[in-house]
């Protein structure tokens, strides 16, 4: 069954241009080279940097020669795939396997895109007996402004990608604005050499200045710095300095209220809380190779609470969150368990698409194998 409109569209020069085999082959070859060189680059420069460079739209080789980045190549191949399935792939039973394969492939690309855009990875470290109500990002930052209200803090925050020079951050409901003067993704901080002199900016830790540094190979090791102007309706403007490695927030009075400001790794509040009761590590006997790590916790949601066990290769899945036993620390403060926490709406897509591609390939090969056997049997 090949519809008339399909046949017409397939013959159109634009369609032919889009579906030109040279584009597919070139695209796939470029992907091959990107993956290969990206892997080599990663060994020296770290995953974060490698992803940033190789996943962009254009890579500037030696700063002069442009080369397509993975995003561009994948967009082009995705468009080709869609057009191919829309107009060219024959709607016959013999090609059913190919339909399933390419459909699954398209789904995989879509899933990858969703993950890229919407997945959030963070971590949660708890000491035995401690309860966690939010998770913390690894290498993404926010400038958070909050006011204490009984046991809870009411927070307004802006993520690091919004902190461009000149950006105006509205701190409503509080009557103030923060204008970004300088923001560095990675910076070194310096205290004043002169004791007792006045500091140029308001800070919580007595830092006098910050200077930009090249981003670390291991992105979570970055420490950003922010210099901004705080203006409120009443009183003069104040210039503040916030630095990523500070342990205390900056306390200011805004509109008569005592507020805290901090440049910190993003907090992602949980709709529930997790209380770590016990962490257990067992070693292979007679060695120092770890056999298993296990955390025993209580999952508290509202008034309900149930005990859970999280251990290697056995995460906890609840309300779209997945908690993985990632690592641990045992020091003089006791035993701590660290969980990797992931929310990813596109999590199940690779499973579905993989099944589709596998089934499609199998189907296609079986159809052809069957045909081959019939042909050789006839001879």
């Amino acid at each position: 069954m090949n519809l008339k409109w399909r046949q017409k569209a397939a013959r159109h020069p634009v369609t032919k241009a889009i579906l030109h085999p040279a584009i597919t082959l070139a695209g796939l070859l470029m992907l091959l080279m990107l993956v290969f060189f990206g892997t080599l680059y990663q060994a020296d420069h770290g995953l974060y940097e490698a992803q940033r460079i190789f996943f962009s739209y254009v890579i500037w080789v030696a700063d002069i020669v442009p080369f397509p980045g993975s995003s561009l190549v994948l967009w082009v191949l995705s468009i080709q795939l869609i057009v191919f399935m829309l107009f060219q792939l024959p709607l016959v039973w013999k090609k059913a396997g190919l339909w399933v394969v390419h459909g699954g492939l398209l789904l995989l690309l879509v899933g990858g895109f969703i993950t890229q855009v919407k997945a959030v990875e963070s971590q949660l470290t708890l000491a035995e007996g401690e309860t966690g109500h939010f998770t913390t990002a690894y290498d993404k930052w926010e400038v958070a402004v909050w006011k204490a209200h009984a046991d809870t803090n009411i927070v307004v925050s802006y993520y690091d990608y919004d902190l461009t020079p000149g950006a105006v951050l509205d701190l409503s409901p509080w009557p103030a604005r923060l204008t970004v003067m300088r923001y560095y993704e990675n910076a070194a901080a310096f205290t004043s050499l002169v004791t007792g002199g006045t500091l140029p900016y308001l800070t919580a830790s007595g830092i006098a200045s910050i200077e930009p540094r090249k981003p670390e190979k291991d992105a979570p090791a970055n420490s950003p710095g922010l210099i901004a102007r705080l203006s409120s309706g009443k009183g003069p403007d104040r210039e503040i300095l916030l630095y990523g490695m500070e342990t205390r927030p900056l306390a200011l009075t805004i509109g008569g209220e005592r507020m805290m400001l901090q440049l910190r790794r993003r907090h992602y509040p949980l709709e529930f809380s997790l209380k770590l009761n016990d962490f257990v590590r067992t070693l292979h006997p007679g060695t120092d190779v770890a056999k298993s790590y296990e955390s025993y916790a209580d999952l508290q949601d509202g008034l309900a609470s149930r005990p859970v066990k999280i251990w290697m290769n056995n995460p906890l899945r609840y309300k779209g969150y997945t908690f993985f036993q990632a690592s641990f620390a045992i020091n003089k403060d006791g035993e701590h368990s660290t969980f990797a926490v992931v929310t990813n709406p596109g999590r199940l897509i690779p499973y579905i698409s993989s099944i589709m591609v596998f089934a499609g390939m199998l189907l296609h090969f079986l159809v052809h194998f069957y045909g081959y056997v019939r042909r050789t049997a006839r001879k």
């Binding site: 109500h133 009411i154 007792g196 009075t253």
Partner: protein, 210 residues
């Protein structure tokens, strides 16, 4: 299937369209997006809550002292105490003494530890702590809490480039400790010491219901 012919002109048009489209996507500037949420007030590593404190304080500000609360979140209040002669002249005293009022939960590490900490800030060896505490004078706030005043102005610092000193009051009561610390040039400190004692006497500390 034969090898395909070279692509026609339409390829250029399509590619151009694609490039413009993607350029448009990336060039879009968006306004900064605020994120609003609530979270449980979390404890700091040293255990003090950065939320509400269980005591309320009031005081009478001595003549000439100026409010300066900003910066360190552990400060309840901070002041600049100028030399009494310059009090009402409108002149800014560049060597005004910095006075901070801090409240911490519990015994905040203990009397000795805090005296040692202050000594360290002006580079005096910790071994002098005992001597300093022995020479301390007792004080009492307006609401009856008792404390001591330590005065380091007659002690020599180990660092010859260091000319600052500290006079401080430590008021310990059950469940909390209040520190009043005046830090500045030695001669200034001596001049404002009476005002400092006046300030401590005027402190009204009331415990709020939990």
């Amino acid at each position: 299937m034969s090898v395909p012919k070279p692509p026609p002109r339409s390829v250029l048009l399509t590619t151009l369209a694609a490039v413009i489209f993607s350029a448009g996507l990336t060039a879009c500037q968006k306004d900064p997006q605020p994120h609003h949420y609530r979270e449980i007030a979390f404890k700091e590593k040293n255990g003090s809550m950065l939320g509400e404190v269980p005591i309320k304080m009031a005081w009478t500000l001595p003549d000439g002292w100026v409010d300066q609360p900003e910066g360190d979140p552990l400060r309840v209040a901070g002041f600049l105490a100028p030399s009494p002669e310059l009090a009402h002249t409108g002149e800014m005293d560049p060597q005004a003494v910095d006075v901070s009022l801090v409240q911490l939960a519990g015994d905040a590490g203990g009397l000795d530890a805090n005296v040692v900490r202050w000594l360290g800030q002006i580079k005096i060896p910790a071994s002098y702590a005992e001597q300093a505490i022995a020479a301390a004078k007792p004080i009492q706030t307006a609401t009856g809490q008792k404390g001591i005043v330590v005065d380091f102005t007659d002690m020599l610092s180990g660092d010859m480039t260091q000319s600052k000193s500290i006079i401080g009051a430590i008021i310990q009561s059950n469940g909390y400790t209040v520190f009043v610390k005046a830090m500045g040039e030695k001669d200034r400190l001596v001049k404002i010491k009476p005002q400092l004692l006046q300030f401590c006497d005027s402190l009204k500390i009331t415990e709020t219901a939990k």
